[in-house]
Amino acid sequence: MTRGRLLSLQFLIAVITLLAWHLATTVPIGGVTLLPPFFFSNPVDVAARIFKWFAEGTIWKHLWVTLIEAMLAFVIGSVAGVLIGFWFAQQPRVAAVFDPYVKAINALPRVVLAPIFTLWFGLGIWSKVALGVTLVFFIVFFNVYQGVKEVSPTVLANARMLGMNDRQLMRHVYWPSALSWMFSSLHTSVGFAVVGAVVGEYLGSAAGLGYIIQQAEGVFDVAGVFAGMFVLAAFVIAIDWLVTLTENRLLVWRPVAAETRTQA
């Protein structure tokens, strides 16, 4: 499939969905509207709302807040994940001792932590950052841990035969391997950073995309809810696209990354 054809098909899906939505909410069939506008709004209203947000410029502040929260959560979670992942992989005993606790905390649904974080860090951005960190950290941590553990024994033996000391092994072998694992989960961890921010906002805040959606929901403003969802979706896609660009630059040495590059 050529790129143009693919794009036009993808566009077609959007058009059909919007059209069906529009017809079902506005055109009565036999006196009955299939989807009551009160619960489903309609595409025109939603588009108008989105346009208004951007035209009046009120949305930027919320986007910015969510972006900052997600970025902070990503950076803090990643740094902590890399450091502790490395430490555990180098110290099997430490890893063994902490193992059940790591698993227990990771198994905890993060939503339950939100109220505690609000108590600890207040209603501002930091309670949302904290929520995002708990999500990002574990993904990065597990991947880095795996990356260090899964270095091919032959590559490791080769590195030692080529005269690498511990520091050089770290820099030339463990670090690139861990990074490659971390980057392979970049989409997931960045996605979770956004999820943490939005869920945190939704549960209690004064700004952000989650806040907008929660506010609209509070007054049964369905158009506002849908508009918030669309903006959020576009936001996530834009970030994901940036991640793909970064990934292709950083992982040129990997077969998959190189192939997707030539396709693009």
């Binding site: 091919s152 035969m161 040129v252």
Partner: protein
């Protein structure tokens, strides 16, 4: 170049590698143990090219690993240039059986790294790496990552990676294993070319008897495992320099091949039976 009979000279030269009564036992997960090699003794003189042939799973790689100092033998001793080996064998270069290049480094970086670890400035290391890539016929492949190279090209990068450090002992584990017959021949000639420039002691593992005879001064045969031992040691009286293809037409080559094969055949059959193949 000097003609043949390197075997005769070998005794007057220093001994590069001496394995004496080496046992290698692996502890298995189910608390049992497996003795891969038992009572193996082998001497390799400085500058001597020794091929090691044996049925699959007999312990050839294990023997090289011990010579490289990657782990100590369970019993017996390993001496490198007369000194007992403790820890890594820093005088040897090792071309591994499986993929050992750093996938995140380009061919050039892969070759240069062995100099950089020794403190050579990066620019000089890269310049010399470029030189070595050219020598193995990959002058234009420096910027490629390993996955963008063919199996044979990767092996050549591996060869350059090891040789750039100028090790006194070269350990090679089926370096041409996965390659087709023609490429093997080209690689064999390349190896002999590089080797004859400054003869290193070589331990060359292969499962291809013809290749072993064509390349080496001595062919050593290992028995099938478990508790594999060295059961035969032949000098190769063929003259050097050799062409690995032409040498196979030599009647001497055929006589030797028939001789060694008699011993090897029985072991290969045993090896198959033990691994459940055949």
């Amino acid at each position: 170049m000097s003609n043949g009979a390197s075997g005769a000279e070998a005794h007057s030269r220093t001994t590069a590698v001496a394995l004496s009564d080496v046992n290698i036992t692996f502890r298995l997960a189910d608390s049992g143990s497996y003795t891969a090699v038992e009572g193996a003794s082998l001497e390799v003189a400085d500058g001597e090219f020794v091929a090691i042939v044996g049925p699959t799973g007999c312990g050839k790689s294990t023997l090289l690993n011990v010579t490289a100092g990657l782990f100590p033998p369970s019993q017996g001793r390993v001496d490198i240039f007369g000194a007992n080996l403790a820890g890594l064998n820093r005088q040897s270069g090792y071309l591994f059986q499986s993929e050992a290049l750093f996938p995140w480094k380009t061919a050039l970086e892969n070759v240069a790294i062995g100099l950089e670890t020794a403190g050579t400035p990066q620019s000089e290391a890269r310049a010399r790496a470029q030189d070595w890539l050219t020598r193995v016929g990959l002058g234009h492949f420096g910027p490629r990552y390993p996955h963008m190279l063919s199996g044979g090209q990767r092996k050549r990068v591996g060869l350059a990676q090891v040789l750039i450090r100028d090790p006194k002992i070269l350990l090679m584990d089926e370096p041409f294993g996965p390659l087709d017959a023609q490429t093997r021949q080209i690689m064999g000639n390349l190896l002999l070319d590089l080797w004859s420039a400054d003869r290193k002691a070589v331990m060359f593992v292969t499962h291809d008897l013809e290749e072993a005879i064509a390349l080496s001064d001595r062919v050593v045969i290992m028995s099938a495992g478990p508790a594999a031992r060295i059961i035969g040691d032949w000098r190769v009286p063929l003259t050097r320099p050799r062409d690995t293809a032409e040498v196979k037409l030599d009647p001497e080559f055929h006589r030797l091949h028939r001789d060694i094969w008699q011993t090897l055949k029985a072991e290969v059959m045993k090896g198959y039976e033990q691994t459940g193949g055949g």
